[in-house]
């Protein structure tokens, strides 16, 4: 067989994959601080999360541009093409996950410095967040290791988040007639919904793992046609 070629291109592609996936670390860090802000009603920390989202957006733009350049200059095909296509998708997920953290952090100040917090609801949201952070880490590992089974397992892990989200609705309904409490509960439901979407994005990344490995794109679960 002839000699190896295109080493610079391969190195650049590897670098961009690492950089895109490192975006998931940024998201995980943003989510961790978001949860801390919820737990302690820390408005300042929430503002830091909002400001820091520029780092995630910057990562998105930088890697996205470099991937477009690779497409334009290197004409990638086969696994390389699938990888670049998947990374573009991963980047979009990373950017949206960051935006969801921002969405949560923007509503935290609305409930005031000492909101009428319900401890069960707070713990439920922290539980959702912890589970979602685990999903983000698992999605990254599945991508790095091209592990389709690990990627598919994200669906099972996501079901836990979905169940907690539904429990949150029940808690909100049980929270009583107090207007402030109800307003706070509504805010927490928005936060729960945002976290649930972050977990969905982690599953989306898992689907991209399967695409890179198999060349076939299929949703692990069809939300519009649930299997039951």
């Amino acid at each position: 067989m002839a000699t190896a070629t295109r080493t610079q291109y391969q190195e650049e592609l590897q670098r961009l994959e690492a950089s895109a996936l490192d975006g998931l670390n940024l998201v995980n860090s943003a989510l961790e601080r978001t949860l801390e802000a919820i737990q302690h009603q820390d408005v300042e920390l929430a503002q830091i999360v909002v400001a820091d989202d520029d780092r995630i957006d910057g990562r998105y733009l930088e890697v996205h541009q470099s991937l477009i350049t690779l497409l334009a200059t290197q004409s990638p095909v086969a696994t390389d093409l699938r990888l670049i296509s998947a990374l573009l998708h991963v980047l979009k997920c990373v950017e949206r996950m960051g935006d969801q953290c921002v969405n949560i952090c923007k509503v935290i100040p609305l409930t005031g410095n000492e909101p009428p917090a319900d401890e069960r609801m707070v713990q439920l949201i922290l539980g959702m967040g912890k589970q979602t952070r685990a999903l983000i880490g698992q999605a990254k590992r599945a991508f790095c290791e091209r592990d389709v089974e690990l990627a598919r397992d994200l669906v099972r892990q996501d079901d836990v988040v979905d169940d907690l989200n539904r429990d949150g609705f029940r808690l909100a309904l049980e929270i009583g007639d107090d207007a402030d409490k109800r307003e706070w509960a509504m805010t927490m439901l928005l936060a729960a919904r945002a976290i649930e979407r972050i977990a969905d994005n982690a599953v989306d990344i898992g689907e991209q793992v399967a695409f890179v490995v198999t060349g076939l794109f299929r949703e692990f679960e069809d939300a519009s046609h649930p299997s039951g």
Binding site: A2, V77, R82, T214, L216
Partner: protein, 299 residues
């Protein structure tokens, strides 16, 4: 006239006088066999129902060098098939076996069968001139006849077959239109063919090949000597011509293969590694060697 009517050629009535010296295996004695072609009425218009090529156990040698090693492969009519692979993999040799050009090289020989619509082109009773009329070829560098005008270049093959003046005029014009060159040269038909640009010369060569209405057109790196604009014109032309003639293109340019071919064949070390729809071969190849080659990990 039926599309399967044969070319009337005195040469086709000749049988190989000495089967032992024949370059091909499996030669059989018997009456002359005609090579099917399209009728003039079918012309360069409409879809065809002929032009399938099938290689069966094809081997090709340059002396002791075994360049093509037992290839079994079909080329569907109305399709463009691209052959890709690193230098020396046997792709050009394999293609040159289809119109029996390979055996013209000293010490070169081929074994196996090449079937055109079921007819074995390596049968000893086949007339090679008729084979090359049915299977045209376009080369890497445009090679118009240097002393001939644009129009005479186009109809040179027809003239050899004894076509009438009016037939040459009609089919020459039709071939130039088919090659996308008519509008550019209609006012300089008497000018020298070599006076055209490189891209025009290559399309002139395509017109020359089309004028004799072949079933199959072999293109051996037809754009490697052309600039990007001329290359794109040839590629567009290939897309138009595939409805009229089966096209087999050898290319080093994988993006070109991806752009023009319906089916792509990857060869390595004289062997066929993978054949498949072009989009599949360039997105999810089955063979690891194909993956390595198309992604540029070796070459």
């Amino acid at each position: 006239m039926d599309a399967r009517d044969s070319i009337e050629s005195p040469a086709m009535t000749e049988t190989n006088p000495d089967p032992q010296t024949s370059p091909q295996a499996g030669a059989t004695a018997g009456p002359a066999i005609s090579v099917a072609t399209k009728s003039p009425a079918a012309g360069l218009r409409g879809r065809r129902d002929v032009g399938t090529v099938e290689l069966q156990g094809l081997h090709a040698y340059y002396g002791s060098n075994h360049a093509v090693r037992g290839v079994d492969l079909g080329f569907a009519a109305d399709q463009v098939t691209a052959i890709i692979g690193p230098s020396g993999c046997g792709k050009s040799t394999m293609v040159r076996c289809i119109n029996r050009m390979h055996e013209e090289i000293d010490g070169a020989r081929a074994e196996g069968h090449v079937l055109l619509d079921g007819l074995d082109l390596y049968d000893s009773r086949i007339d090679i001139v008729a084979v090359r009329r049915a299977v045209g070829m376009v080369f890497q560098k445009p090679n118009p006849f240097p002393t001939m005008s644009v129009f005479d270049n186009v109809v040179s093959g027809l003239r050899l077959s004894g076509a009438s003046r009016s037939e040459m005029d009609d089919r020459g014009r039709e071939a130039l239109i088919g090659a996308g060159l008519w509008d550019e040269v209609k006012d300089r038909l008497k000018g020298p063919g070599v006076g055209l640009s490189g891209g025009q010369q290559q399309r002139l060569c395509i017109a020359r090949a089309l004028a004799v209405e072949p079933e199959v057109l072999l293109m051996d790196e037809p754009c490697s000597a052309l600039d990007p604009v001329a290359t794109l014109k040839i590629e567009e032309l290939i897309g138009e011509l595939k409805q009229r003639v089966t096209i087999v293109i050898v290319t080093h340019n994988m993006q070109q293969a991806a752009r023009v071919a319906d089916t792509t064949v990857f060869m390595l070390d004289g062997e066929l590694v993978e054949v498949g729809p072009t989009d599949k071969l360039f997105t999810t190849p089955d063979d690891e060697r194909t993956e390595q080659y198309v992604t540029g990990k070796f070459g």
